[in-house]
Symmetry: C3
Subunit: 337 residues, 3 copies
């Protein structure tokens, strides 16, 4: 039994095995590897891809799912330890998780960053607490600091697109968004790219460097895998020779939890940091555009990019199902080869 909270929970060998299995499952989506297996899905936050792809992944392999959505048909849930629950939340995850685990063979849980305290969110303690509360295998469907199913899908997408591991140039670029968003996706994308051994650039405006903890962690992984990692706020320098440009918005760390103050820094960046086709002038000719979705059109990225040939976002989302299927089979140990 095992949990999947972060890409680092998979050894190199198991990661390769999951990717290889995902490719086989893409070719043959239906089977019975999850027959007699129930996967419970708890969504503390909205979802489209994860909700749909997890259900499809499980049922196409003969298993069954149930979905619990606090605040939308289910009781709102408290997550803080020691809380005096006289507010809106009727249920605590300390009960909900072990209860739901009894109806399932694996739980998948989505629980976004609270967005108040940077250290708390980067420690990703809540998803770890929930995994500890769960006596069954546990999958992180996006937590405060990690979206590891997305990272696996992104890895497979880069493989599918034959973007090289060694020497492949991966740009993780900030883009404008009306809200100060958490670090789960950029942290996981960065971890994925350095783990994959790529030549990685983080491109972001002044003031929007990723938190030191996120960069440090990436540097440690890079040191092991031989990846290169640099940061820049110069778009031409950042995009130069890129094979893959992964776009995401995130909060300015120094104003974390204070969105009104951050807005002053953020507002003037709107036009310049909407990804347009011209960004790719200095990239490789067929450089790809990646994004985890959902994406705000003509805010984070122009239609011309999303609807053009370099967009790989649909393939990325499709890979969510394939890698999750492989991962579920890996975690539940039920693959009949």
């Amino acid at each position: 039994m095992m949990d999947y909270l972060d890409l680092s929970d998979l050894s190199d060998e198991r990661l390769e095995a999951v990717l290889a299995l995902a490719t086989r499952l893409e070719a043959r989506p239906y089977g019975d590897a999850l027959k007699g297996r129930t996967v419970g899905l708890l969504f503390m936050n909205p979802s489209v891809r994860t909700l749909a792809s997890m259900q499809a992944a499980v049922t196409q392999q003969g298993g069954q799912t149930f979905v619990v959505t606090p605040g939308s048909g289910s009781w709102k849930m408290e997550t803080r330890d020691g809380a005096v629950m006289d507010g809106e939340a009727a249920e605590h995850v300390r009960e909900a998780i072990p209860v739901l685990a009894q109806y399932a063979d694996l739980l998948g849980v989505r629980c976004f960053a609270e967005g108040k305290d940077l250290g708390t969110d980067l420690a990703d303690g809540l998803i770890r607490t929930m995994a500890d509360l769960c006596p069954k295998p546990f999958m992180n469907l996006e937590s405060a600091r990690a979206h590891p199913c997305q990272a696996l899908a992104d890895w497979k997408t880069l493989d599918d697109l034959t973007i090289p591991r060694k020497g492949g140039r991966f740009v993780l670029s900030w883009a404008w968004h009306p809200k100060a968003l958490p670090y789960a996706v950029p942290a996981s994308a960065l971890e994925m790219a350095v783990r994959r051994g790529m030549d990685v650039t983080v491109l972001r405006p002044e003031g929007f460097a990723l938190p030191a903890e996120v960069m440090d962690r990436a540097r440690t992984i890079a040191a092991r895998t031989g990846a290169h990692l640099r940061e820049t706020s110069d778009r031409v320098e950042g995009m130069d020779g890129a094979h893959a440009v992964y776009v995401k918005s995130w909060a300015a760390p120094q104003f974390y939890g204070r969105p009104a103050e951050e807005a002053v820094l953020r507002a003037p960046l709107r036009d310049e940091w909407c990804v347009r086709e011209s960004w790719f002038d200095v990239a490789e000719r067929d450089a790809k555009f990646l994004h985890c979705l959902p994406v705000r059109r003509n805010v984070k990225v122009a239609d011309e990019v999303l609807d053009g040939p370099r967009s790989a976002v649909i393939r990325e989302a499709g890979n969510r199902m394939h890698v999750q299927k492989a991962l579920l089979i890996e975690l539940l140990g039920g693959h009949r080869r």
Copy 2:
């Protein structure tokens, strides 16, 4: 591979085949004709019958489903081309549809009329765009101008009730409702009745004639099938000799998108246009009452009608599952006879 956007997407031969298969499936609901098939369901608007009957239809034939409900557990979705998405919607259907299609073998989508511009809604462009975005078979679960699964269920219901095709008198009657409702159901019911070759009357108050485009389309079909089609605002004339009375409310076309202005025209009709048992005095003795549901009791129709022997609304709703099962098997080509 085929889409089902409108009743006209079925040739006469296929329509009869679907109806015949639906009758066989009513007698034997369970089977494995959809084994190894996943149906994704996207509901941009509320649903009871469609939500439940689609899931039951798929799983009773061995397939699986997932449900995505933007705004209720899933991100709100933008539908306008070229939108600058800095508002509430986090995701665009241009991504959502092809993404979800990758997890499924068929998508079913509900997306009601926007209710702003009459021409736009009657062109039913949005559901066609979504079908175009979907590389898999696509089912319209109610769009701006069509509710073709309802139309099929209504056709089967008329057959079940042995109401004749030729010579059967079908009345489509307006009824009062607090809101200005779209044309999807009345347009599809009208198309169904003329396609079935019936003697059709549209009964509605002055000012509430169906849009010219809807009537013209019905007349064209009637010319082919030999149906008769007339309109009246005289209830006695309209109900005279009726075999089946199909009730629905709809907006006054001349005030489309301006509900406050329309309300002035609508308000005085409240009492007179609530269907009561006395309406049926001039109809055939065992004339049937049909309605797609949900229906506002004692607003559109009095309890005495709904709870009486002429109500066929439960059977109509039951037929939703049978015809959809048949249609899914037809679209997915997987029926093992």
Copy 3:
């Protein structure tokens, strides 16, 4: 065919059979006893355990489910007879129940007390009306006055914990809660305990005696089974020698439907009526704490109790699935032994 509206719907013999089957199913959760069976679930109120455990129960035995949640993806529903539906509700249960019954082999429905009139809610007429409207077997998933699936799970939990039927001391204790809650759970827990033949004490502050109808019904059952039943507002007297303490909050009957007035009576009880470890000083050494969940931590019960060894709440919730599975098999008559 049979309905399950209340524990009294099971004869002694069938109740024992369901409990025995539940224990066997706990050991072997997967099977095909519900193959070719569809269970429709209608939730008029929020749910976590019932929603998840019903879906898991059905699908783990080879059946399928669909879920309809009025107000969250589905139309809001009217329940009052004769209502003039010009408000928010678009659909009446008089249509919804028979319609959904056509897509399923059994319906499970949750519909809480309205909380306005005591007599109306205690008569539990609405769930009986809904069962009458349903031509298929029907399960009460918590109504105005009964939560009979919970009662079955509680019975099994007491058996699992080897708390004796004869001579076992069962305390049903009131606890503070910010809202005036209905009687469904305490009434069903009380009925379960006296039906089980236990030595039962209802412990509650002055003014919070359970309604006379609830107590009378319990006394009638106790007379048949040999249970003892008493009431007290003295905590030490109530807890003395307890084997199991079942905690729930409920409204003061004399202020039913008038929460603002009741709040005056309720407010001063907050600290004293939060269950703490010290409550158990006079109980049996390993007395158990039971609660149906969800529970408001540090409001109804302190963390020290919930997180300590006497808490049986997780096991109780786990038993929900096992007993419901057994009950579904009993009601649908499909168990292949």
